[in-house]
Amino acid sequence: MTLTSAPRRAAATLPVPPSRAPATILAVVVGVIILIATAGLDIEWTELGDVPSRVVNYLQLMFADPNWDKLPRALFETWRSISMAWLGAIGCVVASIPLGMLAARGVGPTWLRYLLRGVFAIIRAVPEVIIALILLTVTGLTPFTGALALGIAGIGTQGKWVYETIESAQEGASEAVRAAGGNTLETTRWALWPAAAPALMSFALYRFELNIRMSAVLGLVGAGGIGSMLANYANFRAWDTVGMLLIVVVVITMCFDLISGSIRRRIMEGARPRGMDRSH
């Protein structure tokens, strides 16, 4: 017996590392799809190298010396776009609040709930521009029909927001009103509406923000407003005017986002408490 021999170390049994095959296969498949898609595009990729320089050239044409002479006209058209967005938002909100409430669990009858939810889902699935395009084909290309199209195209999403808000709000309050003898209408008025109103107002403003972007897009397909003006000048390659119009679109959009965003925050978070100090 030799005392110096170290006890034999047991062979380390490391756990088998997890197979990386699924991840590798997934990566290869995704890579192949991307390559096929990229190759399938009818683009001269050698040209892509000078796209940045061409774009920079056009950016200089647009923004080096924007044509501010057309600004009054642009502001006039911008107001038309904003009006379309606003009236569309009002139409959408006025229609979607009752419809969304009826689609909420516990308010309307079951058959109506499924019917309305189905309609909302279908409207949501179709891109808004396509809904607008169909409506404009039917009713003619005017700013009024543009507003109408915005109103109808937004109902899908807006209605979903309404019934989700109502369903997440109805807990104790509606039960209390029902226990006090209130019917469905009274429950809606005195329990659901007060709980959901701030969120619904906030969604209404958000719809307005979304519509401002959409109204510019509707203008591109011919409904009037800043989009139509932009499309015209872009077609005529009047770059200095296009540059001015883009600046107007960006500034107006950002301003309205800012205003509407701060109002929404105010609605949702409430005012800072005033007059609550106990010094007097």
């Binding site: 084909t137 039917v138 959409m214 897009v217 397909v221 872009a234």
Partner: protein, 270 residues
Amino acid sequence: MTERATAPLQLPERSRRRWPAVGATAAIGIFTVLTCLPAIGGVDVDFSALVRNWSNGATKVNQLLHPNFAFLPRTVSPMLETLAMAVAGAAFAAIVSIPLTLWAARPSNPNPVTRQLVRFIININRAVPDLVYATVLVAMLGVGTLPGFVTLFLFDLGVVVKLVSEAIDSSDHPYLESGQAAGGTQAQINKVTLLPQSWTLFANQWLYSLELNVRISAILGIVGAGGIGRLLDERRGFYMYGDVSVIILEILVVIVLIEACSTALRRRLR
């Protein structure tokens, strides 16, 4: 003692500050009236024109309700072009979004100047509606898939960088500090701790941007940027509403399929 028991119930005084509600209602009313004045650019609210157009519109709706399925084979190749644009745009934007996101998030870029600069550019990028990009880019680069691809690329960049950098901002980064303590440079810290932690955020938004791309690329063609939208606009121009409704149905099916796939994948990511 008895007096106290019969004391009338003291209701708290009703708040008399009604003016905020009145003011808000008045402001909304004034704004609405201003939007209805055609003289200053408002919308001419004219229901009678709607009624006049309706008789005209009813025949079109009737045509739309009778899709011409014989047209379907001709829509396949533009539809593939649309999907190719969507995938390629999302893929290129995904690659470029990584460094930009790291620049725009507070934990990965402590330098306020470059961070605010990137955020400002992304905000401007996001303020331009997608089809407006497409219109201007079609005028710049010519009709075809190239402006569509560039539009989707720019749009996705805005979505991914904004959403992921905000998610990085609001999540905890316990390892960042250990990286700093170990003496790593910011680039090393980002590579070793922040990126591995954020891959799911990225992957989630990349898939979401692909979803959005399919919706947008279907309509980009309306302004000349290639894909199925161009066919849609062409058939609409020829008043072939049976073909138009086939195209719309096809777009609808493809969007629903892509969203179902993407939602399933995103659920697995969590």
